[in-house]
């Protein structure tokens, strides 16, 4: 494994983790443009723009774009989060130049009005699809309640109203501002020819104009509330919880991830033994998610409606107990083994390494090898977990339940 880096004059940074043993490579542009960079009038524009990027350029139609990706047998897609929009493809090594040529070209999209109008319908269908699925939009609502006026409160998809009312010109202005080369990273992982990548990037991206794109990074205040949305047509009851945790640049994030594994992993955790193994809940899990300048834990519960109150009480008890007594050494060791195995297994695919290399660089300008991540997991102690718990208590949380139960008693 070798880490390589090249910066263009316009500010575009290229980074790669080269693995001569790999069969393929992953290539991607990571753009710092997400829902946290939007305003009310622009709600959902980052994600809508992600769709529009595939709709053609000055020299390619939308059909050309799809066809050319398929011609090289690429596994390609894009996704948008609160923080980034990522365009990526996994290809065989011989396709590297064609793949970069195509990815770079679509990053300068035409954003034609006709395509905008058609794709608007697809976005609205996507929003309606999620509204029909558990937890029926409660995840966005929980985030909005938890973060309040903080930029991370915003929905990635936006709403049917915000998408319907969005003019194409506003998207074009947003694009010109956020898709500056200095606000994105070109990342690669796997069997990459980096000299060729850097040379080609100079040619195909060197002319992109640089603009100043800023991001606000205010602190996120803790929040505590308990709400229930009545949805009589649902069969199961669902509940979400958000609580503050370590941010992406905080070394305590590894302790937080291990704590979340001990408390709420899908298997073998405290939630698992109390709620899932016993059949009291269909799902009960806890994860840690990191952002620039903020972090959260998110808990998710689905269960029979009449079990919701007692299950939420059980979760509250688990939080209080761990805050009081901490975690046991053998629990931590088991979580460390589990997390390390997952890191190694997922790193076998270059496209997974791409997300780690590109994601760390766009967020922190930091390269982290698999070895470094494994060492960071190993270094976490019982005391470190206790310190994180004291700083970010799980029992101070934003809870939102949705389902057939109109009222649920707030846990004591």
């Amino acid at each position: 494994m070798e880490f390589l880096r090249h910066t263009l004059e316009n500010g575009l940074e290229g980074v790669a983790e080269r693995n001569a043993e790999a069969h393929s490579l992953g290539l991607g542009f990571f753009v710092q443009a997400g829902s946290r960079d939007e305003t009310d009038a622009l709600a959902g524009v980052s994600h809508f723009l992600e769709h529009m990027v595939f709709k053609g350029t000055a020299t390619r139609t939308a059909d050309d774009v799809n066809r050319e990706f398929d011609d090289m047998g690429a596994h390609y897609n894009a996704f948008t989060t609160e923080e980034n929009t990522v365009y990526y493809a996994a290809v065989l090594p011989e396709c590297q130049p064609r793949c970069l040529d195509l990815l770079a070209d679509i990053l300068r999209p035409s954003l034609r009005q006709e395509d905008f109008d058609t794709e608007k319908q697809v976005i609205i269908e996507e929003i309606r699809m999620y509204e029909d699925q558990p937890p029926f939009g409660a995840d966005d609502q929980c985030k909005a309640t938890h973060f309040g006026s903080h930029p991370l409160s915003r929905s990635v998809l936006g709403t049917v109203a915000s998408i319907t009312n969005l003019p194409a010109d506003e998207m074009r202005a947003y694009f010109a501002h956020r898709y500056s080369p200095a606000n994105m990273v070109l990342a690669a992982a796997g069997r990459v020819d980096f000299d060729q990548l850097a040379e080609q990037a100079e040619r195909v991206c060197g002319g992109w104009p640089r603009t100043a794109a800023h991001r606000r990074l205010p602190a996120a205040d803790p929040h505590s509330s308990f709400d229930v949305i009545h949805r009589p047509s649902a069969n199961q009851q669902y509940a979400l919880q958000l609580m503050n945790g370590p941010a992406a640049e905080d070394d305590d994030r590894f302790a937080a991830k291990l704590l979340a594994t001990i408390i709420g992993d899908d298997s073998g955790s405290r939630f698992y033994w109390e709620l899932v193994d016993t059949g009291l809940a269909e799902q009960a899990n806890l994860g840690h998610y990191e952002y620039q300048g903020a972090g959260v834990y998110m808990a998710y519960l689905s269960c029979e409606p009449q079990q919701a109150a007692s299950n939420l009480q059980c979760i509250a008890n688990i939080y209080r107990q761990v805050e009081r007594e901490g975690v046991r050494a053998e629990e931590l060791a088991q979580a460390q083994t589990k997390v390390k195995a997952r890191v190694v297994l997922s790193s076998e695919r270059p496209r997974n390494r791409l997300f780690s290399v590109g994601g760390n660089w766009i967020s922190q300008r930091e390269y982290r090898s698999v070895r470094a991540d494994l060492a960071a997991v190993d270094a976490v102690t019982v005391d470190a977990v206790q310190r994180v718990l004291a700083k970010y208590p799980l029992s101070i949380n934003t809870t939102l339940a949705i389902g057939p139960q109109a009222r649920i008693a707030r846990p004591q």
Binding site: A74, M129, D132, Q133, P134, Q236, E282, K340, R349
Partner: protein, 414 residues
């Protein structure tokens, strides 16, 4: 690509099929146990899934807590699923932990406790899995489509039915286990970093004295209704369409597979282009070839707002019918490029490969190397696929919709 696949059939009928992947640090395994939901008695649907759930609650020297903890201390990422033919137990871990993990799984498939005191908890788990489907119309439409398209019991959902799950006793679960968990017909696929001779001896030591007689497959009964609407208070209408195809071991399989790849694969495929890209009718639309050993079908899905659902159905059916007129050489070239890179990338995942090896053996009585599959794909021609499509045009559709209102199936499509 150069691969070698090892296989061994033990005296009791258990098959081990394994492929070394020396560039990986991991190893993965998939047990296919011939105890799928096609064996569920009509009044005990869900029995296979319930038995699978109970088998995880302690085996051999371990109670359920020790079972989970010991696997986690070996770093095993595990998964279980139930299909019509099989219960699948799979796992992946660091290569050095493969053999001890297999020893724990030997207890699971041979010596589960099936503890009576955990029956109520197990029952609640399987009942919740069933309830969850009712909140997920996109999953429900495809389960109901399969149920109607395939002859009973080959299309039934593994999750079973509420009353049957509520009435199932621990004795029924134990009988089900004793009758069906057997070496003959069980296939263990392994892929990743391992030494073949050591693996073969180790598996022989764990399973060599496992006994059990072979059991035939249940006969195929009636198929269900051709057109069904299920009312659901949702924004979108979920559309599921099925038509018959040929199974994996059929000589025409790759022709059929190729034709579905043109219909739905990359973003330049016909369904994505016509339904989503040109008309903006939906976010999600796809078709895939679903194969059992003796039958297969193409399953198509589209989900869209109720007021656009009829147009989505009409456009989707028009594309299915247009397929009968044949595919273009450029479509085949793209398909081959996609499959070729997918095959090479399969060498980067031991989990994907171990499952593919076991399934290959089930369908063919042998496992194909990625080179062999690559050659079969290279041999595909437009003429071959078009001849197949002319002889087997998509027709006789089964339609299931889930949503606020029913759709009209054009008479010619029925």
């Amino acid at each position: 690509m150069t691969q070698s696949i090892h296989s061994h059939t033990y005296e009791n009928g258990l098959v081990l099929v394994a492929e070394p992947m020396r560039s990986l640090e991991s190893a993965a395994f998939t047990f296919l146990v011939p105890a799928g939901c096609c064996y569920d008695p009509d009044d005990r649907s869900g029995l296979s899934a319930f038995t699978c759930e109970m088998a995880l609650r302690g085996a051999g020297p371990r109670d359920s807590r020790a079972f989970v903890q010991d696997l986690e201390n070996l770093g095993v990422e595990r998964a279980e699923s139930v299909s019509a033919a099989h219960v699948s137990y799979s796992g992946a871990t660091l290569a050095g932990n493969l053999l001890p993990a297999l020893a724990i799984y030997a207890d699971l498939v041979r010596r589960p406790h099936l503890p009576a005191d955990q029956l109520p908890a197990g029952r609640m788990v399987v009942l919740q899995d069933l309830r969850a489907i009712e909140d997920d119309p996109a999953q429900k439409v495809m389960l109901e489509l399969r149920r109607r398209h395939y002859p009973n019991p080959w299309g039934r959902p593994s999750q079973g039915e509420q009353q049957a799950l509520e009435e199932t006793t621990i004795d029924e679960i134990r009988d089900h286990f004793c009758g069906l968990y057997r070496p003959c017909g069980t296939i263990l696929g392994v892929a990743g970093r391992f030494t073949w001779r050591r693996l073969k001896d180790w598996v022989g030591g764990l399973f060599g004295d496992w006994c059990g007689a072979d059991i035939g497959l249940p006969a195929a009964g009636q198929t269900g209704a051709k057109q069904t609407h299920m009312a659901h208070p949702s924004n979108q209408t979920q559309i599921g369409i099925a038509y018959r195809s040929v199974p994996y071991r059929h000589p025409d399989y790759f022709q059929a597979w190729g034709s579905v790849g043109v219909l739905s694969g990359g973003m330049s495929s016909r369904l994505f282009t016509e339904v989503r890209e040109r008309r903006g009718l939906c976010y999600s639309v796809y078709a895939s070839l679903h194969t059992q050993r003796d039958r297969a079908c193409v399953l198509c899905y589209a989900g869209t707002s109720a007021d656009r659902a009829q147009e989505t159905l009409d456009v989707t059916l028009a594309e299915l019918r247009r397929l009968a007129a044949g595919i273009e050489p450029v479509e085949l070239d793209r398909l081959k490029a996609r499959i070729k890179s997918a095959l090479i990338m399969q060498q980067e995942s031991s989990s994907a490969r171990s499952g593919a090896l076991a399934r290959d053996w089930y369908h063919l009585g042998q496992a194909r190397t990625l080179d062999e599959i690559g050659r079969l794909v290279d041999e595909l021609s437009c003429e071959g696929i078009n001849a197949y499509l002319a002889a087997n045009p998509p027709d006789d559709f089964t339609l299931v919709t889930v949503g606020p209102s029913a759709l009209k199936m054009p008479v010619a499509a029925l």
